[in-house]
Subunit: 401 residues, 4 copies
């Protein structure tokens, strides 16, 4: 059943799906249950309240949809928009590209704002488009918080400021797939209308739960949005919320218990500490990349991502070979370069339930792989740079002091 | 984390989600994996071949979609039909009702053929509609193989014969959610164009995988169908099938390994033996109901379902109280009566990875609950009737002979 | 890995090892840990306090030894006695026989008091032996609380009264393997000097932890006992208790977490409620046996065991065939008759984390097996008798009211 | 239930208990079973044959005893020796000390050959003792293959040669607790009479199974050995082997399935490849220690251990503080210095199911801890030295080529 067994643990450093903590695996090791018994709604009610905390919202309405990030995107769009509606959407990498493709295929009129891959969303263009749109034809601004393909984090607070500057009523839809629970995200403060993530990302669960949170304005929009939808329709969820039975169709009992355990771990560590840990590991990774003499695909510090680092390799090396070799020789799973940057970058995911030594083991592995493929790296150099930073900045584990 | 602990095991006899066999739980107790490594595609390729066996198809194309049965319905419809298309659909209970509701909300023109709840689909009306439809305005015939709300199994072979009689080109779309892997189902032989099930039903997995299989004719239809879809779009799957990477977005690693284990168990027991076991347990349940002096909601033997029995209670009893009490006193989970039969029937699910003594324990529990709520049942009578049949008909466990 | 797969669950009704509750399985699904870190001693300290509750002792010292019941016996004997010491020991079935054999092989002078199998310990003979022993040559009275082979429960309170009557200083050593956590047991009140059980019995854990509790008098005796021992030596445990590191050698981390979970379940249900549940299920089983027209191996009501029922079959039936057939046809695991009663009795274990419907499923299975082997049982009769009692006496599950 | 949660995985580098591979954890996630059903003996039979392979014996008789290494020691001694018997035993560290203590407490006349801690067994003294012992009063030579406290591996082949040189009939008893399945061990070739290990060491299982293997000569000796024993008595095992039921008392079902999975992994990787992997990781660890400018407690290369490295710290540092800090800050579990070397050494265990990047993560952690406690280490230096070696010597994972 394990098709490609290697001794020891797999070192999982793709930017999702990420490592599941053992307490979460344990919580999910269970039989099915009747989701119509009184127990599951009671549990769901508390879960929904707790899920709002990871979005930093009190006014939002969360939906736990049995789907992936792609489905969560579709839920965000079809519930708030009607075919033909104009959206402004930023193309800065593979995942923003896919979301734009989805918007187009669902019949929206997408106004694409493209940046070079490695750069963040061009918010100046957003500003000019909003300025020009006095008729309010733009119904939604769609932006990826963290572009997983290039390791670029966009400035959402600034998007909100721009929208406010022009007093523009467009909905603010955010793909937080590789950011929420790992990067600073503030739904209410930033006036985000729909935010979403997937369970297999920073929440550190298996794939299968698309977590979507809608502001009151988005809920209002959903009442008139004309996109066809049933499976993704918020209306059905809200109907069952009001009934107190919560589920329009069968949820995964295992993911519910897993989510419970994952939230318990997050809250025990403290969401802000979790974000700080991601910041620490992200910084350490970038220091290693620098020590290796390699370039970060992300072009400016303001866009540096604390959940994934895309590393540019010299032209004489195929980055896919790095990924293949890491897996074949060191049981290390790295992310491929995608689309425009295929063969040119490999990616180190450093999100989810990870600690310092796991990351340093990964970095030591990357060094060996770089040497394997002919890059003249000084072995130990990245680990030295990263650990110098980490040794200074890692706090004691609170429960062990 | 277990909100409502009771000693001993929960007796799970709702008609889904059903009991997960321990080997499947074990197979799923695992960390995430990189689904872009060579391992996952290699595993997926074999899974897709094996999944075709549970549909009894060689020409079909299966899709393992991270969704529920509701999503699987949506996938079947949106990939093959365009808004405005006419479907013929049979309303015989809550789940066929929900599917019809979905068809309407997705913009199709649904020609509803209604039967009394407890009866099967009225195929005479189908025949007359097809006869009248010389212009072939009917694009699809949509039918639930087994209506889970009333315990009614429809005759799919007959549907095919009627379509053939009129040489009608309509697509034949089948909801096999509570039938596939439990009741006799023959996709190729019966010319079914799309069949679907959910992982948490007879396959005995957690919820989260919608399993859809499309005939070549359905695949052909998907090329021109105009319903908006992205998450559910077969085209994306087929693109990745052709690339050999198989997944347009992240699958649940755990469900893939779980499916592998579930199929291994099915094939070890033998699909026909599994169906025979369901037939045996279904018959035993009906004998118990008869012994209790209660009525089966299913009105004729030709429609008796081997996966769920809906039991009609006397008017002076509220069937919901039976379900509540079974859970509160005996840790027994039964199915509620839904919609039109709410309060009037309770349901015993007997599908999935179950054996004789599990069922007899359930029947003994139902007897006690019936007595609890004031029905003058003779304790032991249902068990006596069921076990007389089972003692005559249960084979030795092959691996233990 | 599952050598003899059968569909559905195994119905485990041997009198040990018993069913492990799912929360306990979950708690044990974990990697090893360093048992010298601060965490394991902290956990152990609380566990030892909590374990005393299942013995109903405040003055006893518990030992969690990586061994089985046989090892726990050896620990009780070698720590308190010296070769040549005289013990009085009761032979009433296979397990008391094995303990006596152990006493003899360890060099003690065993004064065996034998009863017919099916009877309890002959306490009149104990009284006369104590009366005669004015020189106090008897160093220990060894008794099995519940003889698992015949389903006989001895009256420990009476043993204490007899000892007290004669003011006899002999140590009172009790095998509580199939009683503790299931039958009423009061270490302090009854002046038991060493009591012991195994993890795989009523505690409902895997095999591997022998749980021994020693009174202050037993601890005192251990200081001068001359039996050679190292692995089982309490002295090493006490040394590490005093150091605060608790373990003289490596414990099973998994069993520690499992014990934690098992105790949590026991305390949540309430130890007295657990004992009451065993009483209920024991009574129900005996009513079924009576309804089948079969004899209980236990000859008088005063000895009836609430954890195991040994059923005598008619001479023309081989009870081993019943056990084999139960397993081969119905996936039901029953206990064989042992030694003197081999072929003559089969045993139904009803201890540990079980509920009513599990037992009724078992009883329904036994009925079918009885018919299979040619015994003219009326199917349903045992279930009817048992469920009539249970339907009257089963409380609502407290957490679900 | 997780008393001291920290984010990410625990890095377990004590020399036992070691990391359990996920497939083994999965295999053990299961309910109890009746060990008297035909299934468990069938499984046991194959296990016993397969276990002989890890000892490299064909003539030995293995025993899977529900105990720890300490119990396995006791089994080896009490089955082959009688009180008063003379043994030659080597004191070279804490674990050989404990074994000697056990021998003394069990009543043997132990001729202790002491070496400085950090040195191997003094085999010259063995030679002279054997030469002098023409009366063959020495009944057994007891030696620890790998002293876990100091990281010293003794030369067993040489012990055999010495015994042969003097044609001495003493039994050759070997503690292989931290060697078997990790270091080269050849029971038959080296004429070892009893060899033993514990499940939680290189086999990578939970604690709880003492695995003992006895040569025909040892079995013969057990027939006349007069040490009292019951729980550890091989005779009872052999009796049940002959009966085909295999177990004199209840085994842990979970450990049996775990052992099956562990052996499957060992054989899939290949025992010789496993040993080679340990050699590689041992060498890498020693290179790191050298790079840090620290001393290996093991005084000569001939004794270097490939399963554990004991690192000597400068006098101004307390090695216990290193262990504490590693756990408190980096979730890294290292081994304490024991007894004579307490405070002076810390230990890195590198045995069991480990790979290169796990080790490098550990080494990176040790570097940071060294810096934390004031040792002027150059961060990255140990990782550089270790990874230079590993990058040259790590093979591709065979199943992934």
């Amino acid at each position: 059943m394990d098709y490609v067994y290697g001794p020891g643990r797999n070192h999982l450093f793709v930017p999702g799906p990420v490592n599941i903590p053992d307490p979460v695996i344990r919580a999910m090791t269970r039989n099915n249950e009747d989701y119509r018994s009184p127990a599951v709604p009671a549990m769901t009610k508390i879960l929904l309240e707790d899920v709002k905390k990871i979005f930093k919202t009190t006014s939002g309405t969360p939906f736990l949809i049995p789907t992936t990030g792609t489905g969560a995107w579709e839920s965000a769009l079809t519930n708030t928009l009607s075919p033909g509606d104009r959206t402004v959407s930023f193309l800065i990498g593979q995942f923003s590209l896919l979301w734009i493709d989805q918007q187009q295929r669902l019949g929206f009129n997408v106004d694409v704002v493209e940046s070079e891959w490695g750069q963040g969303a061009n918010l100046d263009i957003l500003a000019s488009k909003l300025a020009a749109d006095t008729a309010h034809t733009i119904k939604a601004v769609c932006i990826v918080h963290n572009e997983t393909a290039t390791g670029v984090t966009n400035n959402l607070a600034k998007v909100r400021r721009i929208l406010d500057n022009y007093n523009h009523p467009a909905l603010f839809l955010v793909d937080g797939v590789s950011s929420i629970c790992a990067l600073d995200f503030r739904m209410d403060e930033w006036g985000v209308d729909v935010a979403l993530t997937g369970s297999q990302k920073a929440l550190s669960l298996p794939t299968g739960m698309g977590i979507v949170c809608a502001s009151p304005k988005a809920i209002e929009a959903s009442k008139t949005a004309k996109s066809y939808r049933v499976f993704f329709d918020w209306k059905d969820y809200i109907k069952f919320y009001n009934l107190g039975t919560f589920w329009p169709y069968t949820p995964s009992i295992q993911l519910l218990y897993g989510l419970r355990a994952a939230l318990d771990l997050l809250f025990e560590e403290g969401l802000d500490n979790v974000i700080e840990r991601h910041s620490r590991l992200g910084k350490a990774t970038r220091l290693a990349v620098e020590a290796w003499g390699l370039k970060n695909c992300t072009q400016k510090e303001e866009w540096f991502s604390d959940t994934v680092t895309a590393v540019v390799v010299p032209p004489y090396i195929d980055s896919s070979e790095i990924v293949r070799r890491a897996w074949k020789r060191y049981n290390l799973s790295l992310g491929l370069g995608l689309n425009k940057v295929a063969g040119k970058v490999f990616r180190i995911g450093h999100l989810g339930n990870l600690n310092e030594l796991q990351l340093l083991g990964c970095l030591a592995g990357v060094e060996m792989v770089l040497k394997d493929v002919g890059y003249p790296v000084k072995l130990g150099s990245g680990v030295a740079a990263a650990s110098a930073f980490l040794q200074n900045n890692t706090p004691l584990i609170p429960s062990r002091i």
